[in-house]
């Protein structure tokens, strides 16, 4: 394997691109499940930053945080998808702009 000589900035820029992709997904899509997947995209972009910093500074803390973020993401997935299920059961839709229950 080629010894890594990639500047840290490359990872940061890639991570920023992925994060912005996730932001666009959350803002522009209507399907709650796709919004949910875009949130996962953003979480993973941050994870990439953490691992990059961890590897470039030789500190294990970044990878520990990634571990905990993954656990929280798993919890979020379970609860988020249960909410989508409950929403679909009550309103027969997963499109967020058709849900105006909390609009005043």
């Amino acid at each position: 394997m080629i010894p890594t000589s990639i500047p840290l900035d490359y990872y940061l820029i890639l991570s920023a691109i992925l994060f912005v992709t996730g932001v666009i997904g959350v803002i522009t899509r209507r399907n709650a499940i796709i919004i949910f997947m875009s949130i996962e995209l953003m979480l993973n972009a941050v994870n990439l930053t953490m691992v990059a910093f961890s590897a470039y500074s030789g500190d294990v803390a970044g990878q520990m945080f990634v571990f905990f973020i993954m656990a929280v993401a798993a919890a979020e997935a379970a609860v988020g998808l249960a909410i989508v299920l409950a929403l679909f059961r009550n309103r027969q839709t997963v499109y967020v702009d058709e849900v105006n229950l909390m609009k005043w």
Partner: protein, 169 residues
């Protein structure tokens, strides 16, 4: 460098596919591909444990859950027609994200250039041994807290998704 380029391009492409596909199943499959690309990126950073967990937890567990819900809700073609690209929303959303991207680019460019090579100890800190060592000593309390959080999420998900029969009885 070559590996990084391949995985980076793959990751960006699959991320874009995830947010542009009309069909939720296609989105989910692109997201699985994205997770594999990220796992490859973690390997280029010598983070073996995180790479393995990425595939196991994200591509394995979370995406199965997502695909399962998509199938359960039967998000087929006719409901898909309802999703018309609202031009204003897409333009505004992309503009907001663009501002955000510019801010992040300024932040990355503005600081002094970071490290240009992996830390010499990067290989040893990414192993399961090193992660486990920290996890069960220094990070023991967060570890236990996360287990409690997972339990709470489990119960919450079951209660939320449960069919309420005869609520007013």
């Amino acid at each position: 460098m070559l590996l990084f380029a391949v995985f980076a391009i793959g990751a960006v492409t699959s991320a874009l596919l995830t947010i542009t596909r009309r069909n939720p199943v296609a989105s989910a499959m692109s997201l699985v591909a994205h997770f594999f690309m990220l796992s490859g990126l973690y390997l280029t950073l010598e983070a073996q444990f995180v790479a393995a967990v990425q595939v196991l937890v994200y591509a394995g567990a979370i995406m199965v859950l997502v695909v399962f819900v998509i199938m359960l809700l039967n998000l087929g073609r006719e409901q898909q027609l309802a999703e018309r690209g609202n031009a204003i929303r897409v333009t505004l959303g992309t503009a907001v994200a663009g501002i955000f991207a510019v801010m992040m680019a300024l932040a990355v460019i503005g600081r002094e250039s970071g490290a240009s090579a992996l830390h010499p100890q990067a290989v040893t800190i990414g192993t399961t041994e090193s992660i486990g060592q920290s996890l069960f000593t220094q990070y023991l309390f967060p570890f236990e807290a996360v287990s409690l959080l997972l339990l709470a999420a489990l119960i919450g998900a079951v209660i939320l998704a449960k069919r309420h029969v005869k609520e007013e009885a």
